[in-house]
């Protein structure tokens, strides 16, 4: 049987009671040699062919009722995000109401999966989401650069979790990864995972800075072995952020990791996904790569902000046959 690791809160099923049962895969402390041996088994990725496969799947034609399903699912898989230096409690509270009821005129529209904010905003968001099923994700551990001493990153994470976040989005040390210091990357994740307590950990690879698909695949394997519950493409602060080929490469790594260990790790694509059409292409990619079991927010998430209104607009169009003026949708 395969289970989501660590966080009962996410899977809601009988998952292992303590984190130490399941993660990290290679142990709390790992030698350079054993980590390198593990990573060397990662198959290479042919960039041209991976791009081609993602492009081929983008030609799927999703119509009528399947389009409506896909749009609703997109909302249910969304980590509605605001990560700006100028965020205020007022802004976060507004976004929380949008997360709970994305379209105030249409109660049939589902809530999003999670609200994603900076740690400072966690208390506000936690209060605003109280009593709902919506998860609260905090980007912690010195987001978005991760360029801080580990103790600071751990303290940041602990604080966010204790303030009410049940999902933590951390970013790996890309510098360490690119310099070949995989042990540092691994140890950081293990430490942050421990600081998460019961919260569920999403590890951001910042694929735009890893540059090659081989690196993306290797970093995915590293993050999963170190205890990630989800692996995530990007912070949204670096361009390029998420792309469909990068998502495909990470999903293939997840598939191999499950075959190897039995652990089913989730995937979050974040940054640059702004249109419903693009979101549906991601869903096609997930469905055809991972199978039907994956079409749930338990396994796949979108990290996005402006995407929600485009999805709402498309739903309105499908139902009424006409496009509404964008001013009919709330901007929060």
């Amino acid at each position: 049987m395969t289970v989501a690791r660590g966080s009962d809160s996410i899977s809601g099923v009988s998952t292992p009671a303590t984190i130490s049962d399941t993660s990290p895969i290679l142990g709390q402390s790992v030698s350079r040699r054993s980590l390198e041996t593990y990573l060397r088994a990662t198959p290479s990725v042919d960039e041209v062919a991976a791009n081609e496969r993602a492009a081929a799947l983008a030609t799927r034609s999703i119509k009528r009722e399947s389009k409506m399903h896909a749009l609703e699912l997109t909302i249910r898989m969304m980590d509605l995000t605001t990560l700006e230096g100028m965020d205020t409690p007022g802004k976060v509270t507004q976004l929380a109401s949008k997360a709970i009821r994305p379209d105030p005129t249409d109660p049939t529209i589902p809530s999003v999966a999670a609200l994603c904010v900076y740690p400072n905003m966690v208390p506000t968001a936690s209060e605003a989401l109280h009593g709902t099923d919506i998860h609260l994700a905090a980007v912690a551990s010195y987001f978005p650069s991760g360029q801080a001493p580990l103790a600071v990153r751990v303290a940041d994470t602990q604080w966010a979790q204790q303030a009410g976040a049940d999902e933590i989005d951390m970013v790996i040390d890309r510098g360490a990864f690119l310099s070949g210091d995989f042990v540092k990357v691994y140890d950081d994740i293990v430490a942050v995972k421990e600081a998460c307590g019961p919260a569920h950990l999403k590890v951001i690879l910042e694929t735009g800075e890893l540059a090659t698909y081989d690196n993306v695949r290797k970093a995915s394997m590293l993050a999963m072995a170190a205890g990630a519950d989800f692996i995530k493409t990007s912070t949204g602060k670096v361009s390029p952020a998420s792309t469909r080929p990068v998502t495909l490469v990470m999903l293939e790594a997840i598939r191999d990791f499950e075959a190897m260990t039995g652990f089913q790790i989730g995937m979050k694509s974040a940054g640059g996904i702004r249109t419903a059409k693009d979101a549906i292409r991601y869903l096609v990619l997930v469905s055809e790569t991972m199978g039907k079991d994956w079409m749930t927010p338990r396994m796949f998430r979108f990290g996005a902000s402006s995407l929600l209104n485009d999805v709402l607009m498309q739903i309105r169009w499908l139902r009424s046959g006409v496009y509404q003026n964008p001013d009919y949708f709330t901007k929060d």
């Binding site: 809160s9 062919a49 030609t59 999703i62 399947s66 699912l73 609260l136 307590g197 039907k292 079409m295």
Partner: protein, 491 residues
Amino acid sequence: MNEKTPAKPEIAPVDFEYASSREATDLVEIDDSYGLWINGASRSPASKRYFSTINPATEEPLARIAEANERDVDRAVKAARKASDSWRRTPGKERAKYLFRIARMIQERAREFAVLETLDGGKPIKESRDFDIPLVAAYFFYYAGWADKLEYAFPGLKPEPLGVAGQVIPWNFPLLMMSWKVAPALATGNTVVLKPAETTSLTALAFARLTAEAGLPSGVFNVVTGAGPTGASLVAHPGVDKVAFTGSTAVGKAIQRSIAGSPKHLTLELGGKAPHVVFDDAPIDQAIEGVVNGIFFNQGHVCCAGSRLLVQESIADHFVDKLKRRLETLRVGDPLDKNTDVGAINSEAQLDKITELVDVGIEEGAGIYQPACELPDRGYFFKPTLFTGVSQSHRIAQEEIFGPVLSIMTFRTPAEAIEKANNTPYGLSAGVWTTKGSRILWMADRLKAGVVWANTYNKFDPASPFGGYQESGFGREGGKHGLLPYLSGVR
């Protein structure tokens, strides 16, 4: 600790099925019956005989097609001969204009041709739309560019057209195979009598009308429809200077025998049993896609299909498991549905042949695997099929099945891979998957194949020549090489 977490419900996966997304067919007008295209117009056949062409996905008749007999073929060849005198003297620049115009008109009417190709042949609309028709236009554009540059293509030589080309094309890529032959023939100043396959005549006939709309002089391009005897009459006609054939090796041999001793020029593009070699250092997930594309593209009705998978033994189990999983996601069914990956088998006869060879594979003791997909009730369909544990001596490892059937074998060393890959009478194409550049070159040097694809498969470009070794034929189509078979004075 967040007190609301335990209350969060498990969220069941959503059923993510694709609704039917059928390409509209209202753009396509199909006549009740079609005559022969001779001297710029549709003519009733002297034979007074017609045969029907059907949609292999529904088994419903689409139209009646004239069956050309010897007299009809003679009329067509004479028309082409007559037109040859002025067409060969038409300046290359002028010939290019017609070809450019034809290419643009194909682009403008791409959707119509794609739907017609799918209706008559059974291939998935996404392939006729994204592969066949765009490439048809590309080949016409490419050869249009050569028409006025022949003396530069062969410096110091005097390239002259041969005269009348009799071209016989197959049913797997009807319009595309036509473009590979017609575009270079017209560019070099030859006139053409084309014999399309009897199951897929419609796009050639629609193309014939397009040439008239493009103002191509009468008699430069002619179509005689019919089955094997019509093709045999065309090939044997003394007025034909050049024979170009794409199809089975058996028919290719018969053609070569029939024209032996005559001054006719010949190119043959015949069958294949291409090896697709996957090394242990390959980019595995992309190799899976390459192998799937190699054998299930166009239902495996591809002369260069990668029908023999040679996978390194150390990764074989892992690779085959992944391949099986991938097969489950192939969407088999209505070729007109834009989400269909594998469409209909072209004809009942071909379906019977595939079924027979698959039965042989089972009898020979190979392990068969087919995904749990459901096939439509009507029409000719065959499940994507894998055979594991195949030996070189099995018929399914030697004979061209021309269907969605992959024979899987293993190897241990590069030398063994080469030995098995080349152990076939064919030699059209091959694929290699490895991350080592040096190994790609080592393999390409040793593989006896006209085309070797490295870390990809089924890639075509008008500028790249294509053709076979051994029993896969001779002569090249595409590129500058593709001009040679239609010219004299260039060697």
